[in-house]
Symmetry: C2
Subunit: 415 residues, 2 copies
Amino acid sequence: MTIKAANEECLARIQDGTAVWVDIRTARDVLPDLADRTVFHAGPPVTWKNMCGPMRGAIIGASMFEGWAKTADEAVAIAEQGQLKFHSGHDHHAIGPMSGIITPSMQVNVVRNDRFGIDTHSTLYMGIGKVLRHGAYDETVMQKLRWMNYELAPLLRRAVQQAGGIDIKSIVAQAVQMGDEMHNRNKASNVLLLTALAPHLVATGERSDVVRALQFIDQAGHFVLNLVMAGCKGILDAANGIPDATIVTAIARNGCETGIRVSGTGDRWFTAPAPMIEGVYFPGFGPADANPDLGDSSITETIGLGSMAMAGAPAVVEYVGGTPEFAVDTTMKMYEITAAEHKTFKLPSLRFRGTPLGIDIRKVVKTGITPVINTGIACKRAGVGQIGAGLTAVPMQCFERALEAFAAARTSTPV
Amino acid sequence: MTIKAANEECLARIQDGTAVWVDIRTARDVLPDLADRTVFHAGPPVTWKNMCGPMRGAIIGASMFEGWAKTADEAVAIAEQGQLKFHSGHDHHAIGPMSGIITPSMQVNVVRNDRFGIDTHSTLYMGIGKVLRHGAYDETVMQKLRWMNYELAPLLRRAVQQAGGIDIKSIVAQAVQMGDEMHNRNKASNVLLLTALAPHLVATGERSDVVRALQFIDQAGHFVLNLVMAGCKGILDAANGIPDATIVTAIARNGCETGIRVSGTGDRWFTAPAPMIEGVYFPGFGPADANPDLGDSSITETIGLGSMAMAGAPAVVEYVGGTPEFAVDTTMKMYEITAAEHKTFKLPSLRFRGTPLGIDIRKVVKTGITPVINTGIACKRAGVGQIGAGLTAVPMQCFERALEAFAAARTSTPV
């Protein structure tokens, strides 16, 4: 196949993919590779030795949640002794923001790309601040985790089932026209999700539980994010593994390395050291406290959201820094490295132009422009949590390495 | 007082006003002038003889709802015989979109400007299409009206009271940053309202009633509008009646005439024939079916929303016509006739500049630019309902007459 034809097939699959929140399940029941003492994490594969503080913190919390350890010290000990197995969630239809830790007893969202028969899984969003995904694991975090897992999740499950599924792609399409870029600004999408869910929650839940759930989803602010992430991955996974396609199908960071996947080279990761983030810090924190770029949430940029859709979300600059003009400039720059425009996600401020879609590794290398990422900043010390938000970029090395590998695999035709 | 000082006082009162939805009450209990067989209507005062089709239609429906008439013919007869009294709602702390009909048995929202101790009242929003405010009164309309009045309203009342009031001004401030201009685009504000209301609905209502209420508010799309209108009026009424102030405090249309009020001349109306609307028609309708400009909803423009805030709501052009650039141009033009910028309603697309606030009759007359209005189009025949949406402008005559009267009253100092 020519690169052109391969990319067209790849892009068509991304455009046509669907994302419907169909269920919430216990992770071990839907993720067969998530055996006991197995941990899925964000980004490309990484060993305990190389893991960053927040990822270690989240694993400590998850180990206590699972009962594998009683204390943080015990959790560190079993990890150091090699008693835990670590896998990239990306290799197993799973995804999570920041450390992206998923262990067998956790409840996970099931988001379906029914056009291509792919289910993708993500944990439930816990809120901002001191939360597991940022490596916090004190008793308040553990209590919240247990409430979400054993009380909130069953309630949401009944509602989602009664609703016959909730169309996440449709919510994203509306929210992109309401100032969300879907990575750090999810204000519209979160209330749209709540609006879709509320009648079914009411119909299936106990009054006091429903009140608490509604208030939690509203106050968490970004509850929709983990569903959107699973939706993005399910759509992009359907477009992965097309020989000769040069479109990026995943961008993910484990806090130590940033990695990308390219459709033509399938599941192989092309990595480089994770960069730091330029951003706005919460009071009391600064760059010296910051962890390098972390998390799977850059799957939003991979599908034409996040920084790609920033022109439609000028208010996000209040959170990640910059000016409204910078937001427009960022999107405009991203059109230079993408192969198409999204036919469902449209930016009113750019005359309803589709968001930049399909990062082409050839264009990145040729222009020297790498994808921008809007992201949260985790404290590099385990146990602290989120300390800010800002902007970073995927290292050029990832694309150079990917292009080399792509060219090497494609001996017959010049790139 | 100098005009400058008077306008500053007027603008400060508008900026500082509040709008909290505190209650729902039966109209006769909170509107002492709304006696039996009395009807409040939109816009400046108008007689039955001069009333447009949709306003007559709404009065027919309201007369049957009140039991004053059994049939449409009977309703017309009692109106023609002078058995009904008509008052402009604006003169009685009441407001309504389109025909704006309020009769004694109707449930009305109570929206409080607690900074200045003013309660303003509006009917509950019925949805789009065939509805009372557009002059429709068939049995489906009457049934819906009864359900809203006797089932939905009491449910909402308990929720609003349990919430301790819902801050409408805060919802507007958020929604203006989410693509709403608050007159014809209320997508974000409506779901934000629903999000604020939902837990209290659940806590106080019966399950099946709550489900129905949540679905109705979501599907009605603009349920929030009537609350916003009451909020705008309550804030502007507090700024009315300041001698020497040249700021417009009301714009309202009765479908026959458009009228404005100016702070310095108090409750006096300055009117001109209501213009037609340039717009987008629903299938099957065209300009020949259209009624001239109608309704109190232009109170949103009066406070710096609607067309004034259009730069932040490019998606509204899909509804009222035009291009996203036109939306920005409209707001920019409105800065030329306003005296200030809103300190709470900010437009991300204009670098968080406040919306144009305080229409100054001197600037309108001097520049020849009159305020644009984003609005729905009613069918001129009673009983049909909404047939489109579009843009119009307040006639220049209103401002010329207001300025003449203002100057005449102010003999000592030149305008």
